[in-house]
Symmetry: C2
Subunit: 242 residues, 2 copies
Amino acid sequence: MNRANRGMNLTQQVADTLGNAIINGKYGAHNPVPSEAVLCEQLQVSRSAAREAVKSLAAKGLITSRARQGIRVLPESEWNLFDADVLRWMRDSNPSLELLREFTELRVAVEPEAAMLAAQLQDHEKITLIGQALDRMKDAETGLDDPLESDIAFHLSILNASGNRFFMQLGRIIDTTLRVSIRFTNRRTGVNAGVHADHKKIYDAIVDRQPELAAKQASNLMSATLSTILSALEENSSANKA
Amino acid sequence: MNRANRGMNLTQQVADTLGNAIINGKYGAHNPVPSEAVLCEQLQVSRSAAREAVKSLAAKGLITSRARQGIRVLPESEWNLFDADVLRWMRDSNPSLELLREFTELRVAVEPEAAMLAAQLQDHEKITLIGQALDRMKDAETGLDDPLESDIAFHLSILNASGNRFFMQLGRIIDTTLRVSIRFTNRRTGVNAGVHADHKKIYDAIVDRQPELAAKQASNLMSATLSTILSALEENSSANKA
DNA sequence: TATATAGTATTTATATGATAATATCGCTTT
DNA sequence: AAAGCGATATTATCATATAAATACTATATA
């Protein structure tokens, strides 16, 4: 089962194993998932554990499980991309630029709106947290803090300051994927002083109660990120043609 | 258990019953959810059914379930608003304008971006579907089609034409909530000829390959919707003060 | 009195076996 | 060839038992 076993209970371990296998394409239309009974034998767990794992994956949209039909892998369009596990499995097993692009398109839409709402709402407590994340980014420039974690903290703090529950929840998913995205973007463009400065523009606009400007600054930042990804995709496709 | 029983299996019925009860506030910090054993008795189901329902609700972020601790209701901030069930329960039990506002803020962010991508991608098959939904909206003006369903179909078809998997998946959630939102907005502003015309502007921009314009038109439409909700919220709060 | 420690009880986690419901397949009948 | 029917495999549900985790309690110790 290749269990990582880090605090996960048996059901979660089984779900993790199966989920990874499905997303890797080990099971699919032509290679159906074995029946519950067979799964128990293969993974050496009880039916309870196997069943609960199967239910879990069904809830995530990966499979259906019906009597006499067995366990069927659903088409990828049914997979719930807003589930942190699904996203993590996809991220790890199939780290495609394509998924990263689509994800960034979502951020292009969401983050400027969140910055705008934060500037309108003026929740000082939460705006303070944005400032603290920004300070961490500055420290990261001189190696005093982690550039990845501080960058993530900044973006999440803006979503949290929006006061919008949907945006806040997107934060969790964004967290999962940012850990790949930022690493990728920084590798391509280099971590330089500009990063902190660009983020500061957003923070300043929020503090100055300028919603439109905050949205604009966030939009600029996200567009730049998207451009980086798009040009990488261009390179890949031209490389494939050659 | 008050089971609707419409095609749902036992586990789903239990989850539905419990989910509704939790969101209605029947269980909470001071009224913890009974232990699995008690739930079995109360709902007259086996331990398996109760357990799988509990697992399901835990996956949705409503509860945690740990040994000796029992089943605890999590704070509302943990509830997964991107789960169709959770959203439906909240919508039905607590149809607050506040939630509708936050949801519309999400749409304000997402739908213009989706329209822009649709105009860029030019997937003719999917753009045709937008046109068909628009035709249905026109029919709805003369009573030949359902205004609610056609309106929903239009917005979903744009998300689908974006080619972005995250936007497409948001469609499902939007579907759930639009069934309240559109009814509310139409009740306030009246269903008039302007509705079809405003939607057509988006469609035309997509067909004409004008991404910026498509985004702008979608933004106008969504902003108007949000304004309607915001003014209703104003009225409520001033009515409460009086 | 305060704090640490071991023990106890409660609850979920996992395992096992049995029965019910149901979708699929093949056979029969018309 | 189509429709109906029964056999069969598989999940759904139930029932029960044991293990593991953990909050609470009582006791001992400083």
